[in-house]
């Protein structure tokens, strides 16, 4: 039995590096292609509307509930504010930059007071009206309350105003003894945790994660450099591949010419 001949194939160094770079860049190409495809259809896939509920990813992004959360109770309903997010009975309501100052409820709606506006909502969370025309100008709302007739009262600076049932007209009060002002309350731990989890889930959506994965930002500044390197590797791959193809074409043409000569 004869041993196979010891043949040493001399490879072109460009081809060797082309293969190595191709293998290394394959993972990044897959990441970029898949995330790019998904991001191209972000609207139809509603990636910005679907929240990431992974605690691991939330922790990676450093999403913590802002302190201190504020909770107010009115007619068995709880209104909370964590950061800019408002919650009604633990369910997300809407975002509001101004700080929640108090809440009162009557048979028609729940009124949420902020420095420069009132939000009227139903217990189901539907927006009834946003009132920005306050009874007096120049002062912000500092407190909201109700009298024994369920009429809504507002304190603006030193003045106290009381409204009709529809909140159309206001008149100034000289005596505020009958008014019970809305005060922040403490919530039970279960509802607190539910609100905190809901806040954290809302803070991160799939579009954000995919964008950060696509750009490498998910892994900090080193991730960006890594993606830069992958991009450079892909440029080199394209160039070396082109060069290799040209070489192959040249050899093929030479062989055809030699064949014709023979």
């Amino acid at each position: 039995m004869s041993n196979p001949p010891n043949i040493k194939i001399k490879r072109n160094p460009v081809v060797c590096w082309h293969r190595r770079a191709g293998l290394t860049a394959a993972l990044f190409v897959l990441i970029l292609a898949i995330t790019g495809l998904l991001l191209n259809h972000t609207s139809s896939l509603e990636l910005d509307k679907h929240n990431v509920d992974s605690r691991l990813l939330q922790a990676w992004y450093g999403i913590e509930p802002p302190a201190p959360p504020r909770h107010f109770g009115a007619n068995n309903h709880t209104i909370s504010q964590l950061g800019e997010q408002l919650f009604i009975n633990g369910k997300p309501l809407q975002k509001q930059q101004q700080q929640l100052l108090g809440v009162v409820a009557n048979t028609m709606f729940i009124a949420l007071a902020f420095e420069q506006q009132l939000l009227l909502v139903t217990p189901e969370g539907e927006l009834v009206e946003r009132i920005t025309e306050l009874p007096t100008r120049g002062n912000n709302i500092s407190a909201i309350g109700q009298n024994s007739n369920n009429q809504l009262a507002l304190q603006l600076g030193n003045k106290i105003f009381i409204s009709d049932q529809q909140l159309l007209n206001w008149h100034e009060l000289s005596d505020a003894q009958d008014i019970k002002w809305s005060q922040a309350i403490e919530l039970d731990t279960d509802l607190k945790n539910e609100i905190t989890a809901s806040y954290q889930n809302q803070a991160l959506n799939y579009e954000r994660v995919l964008l950060d994965l696509h750009s490498g930002r998910l892994f900090g500044s080193w991730g960006i450099y890594l993606m830069d390197l992958a991009a450079v590797a892909m440029i080199l791959l394209a160039l070396s591949g082109l060069w290799r193809w040209c070489q192959g074409l040249k050899i093929f043409n030479t062989k055809i010419i030699e064949g014709r000569k023979k």
Partner: protein, 181 residues
């Protein structure tokens, strides 16, 4: 001191001016141009008890959807009614943020249209009279469209669209409240 020959100086100054002009970002036009209360006071003076409420029933919201392309985001609307005039403070999203418009309708025709609050980064040109005056005297046709053409503003397409929608909405709501009363 670094001195340049005068021809170079002038061309350098021109170049610098050109670069600065190219680099300059347009000044943001976001802001509160008029408080809604001021707008109402300007229109009706100090008239008392003219504020009213309109609850947006399913039937109304169906027509509103035809005008805006979506339901109005609140369940009720505040308006001001005196004689045959009504004033409305309405909001519609231009591109991303709501634009607040004050519209006065008298006898079925637009009498005034003011941009009260503009929150978008572009398209605030709709606040200028050359644009808003096009609406004056316009009324609604049977298809709930304006009875005349409103010329657009290049670079402010979405704001123009929002203004047109709100003008139609104010005219429609005016019809509803004046027919009822």
């Amino acid at each position: 001191m670094f001195l340049l020959p005068s021809p170079l100086k002038s061309s350098g100054a021109t170049l610098l001016a050109l670069v600065l002009a190219l680099c300059a970002t347009p000044a943001t036009a976001r802001g509160v141009y008029q408080q809604p209360t001021e707008f109402i006071n300007e229109v009706f003076g100090q008239q008392q008890n003219i504020a009213k409420l309109l609850w947006l029933s399913q039937e109304l919201q169906t027509s509103i959807k035809q005008i805006l392309g979506h339901a109005y985001p609140t369940l009720r609307l505040r308006y001001w009614h005196h004689d045959d005039s009504t004033a409305w403070v309405l909001e519609e999203i231009g591109k991303e943020k709501p634009i607040t418009l004050g519209v006065v309708v008298k006898a079925g025709k637009i009498e005034r249209l003011n941009v009260l609050v503009f929150r978008e980064s572009r398209g605030s040109e709709i606040r200028y009279p050359f644009f808003s005056k096009q609406f004056y005297g316009r009324s609604l046709d049977r298809n709930l469209s304006l009875d005349g053409k409103i010329d657009g503003i290049s670079g402010a397409t979405l704001s123009v669209r929002a203004a047109k929608k709100l003008a139609r909405l104010a005219l429609y709501l005016h019809q509803q409240v004046t027919t009822k009363s």
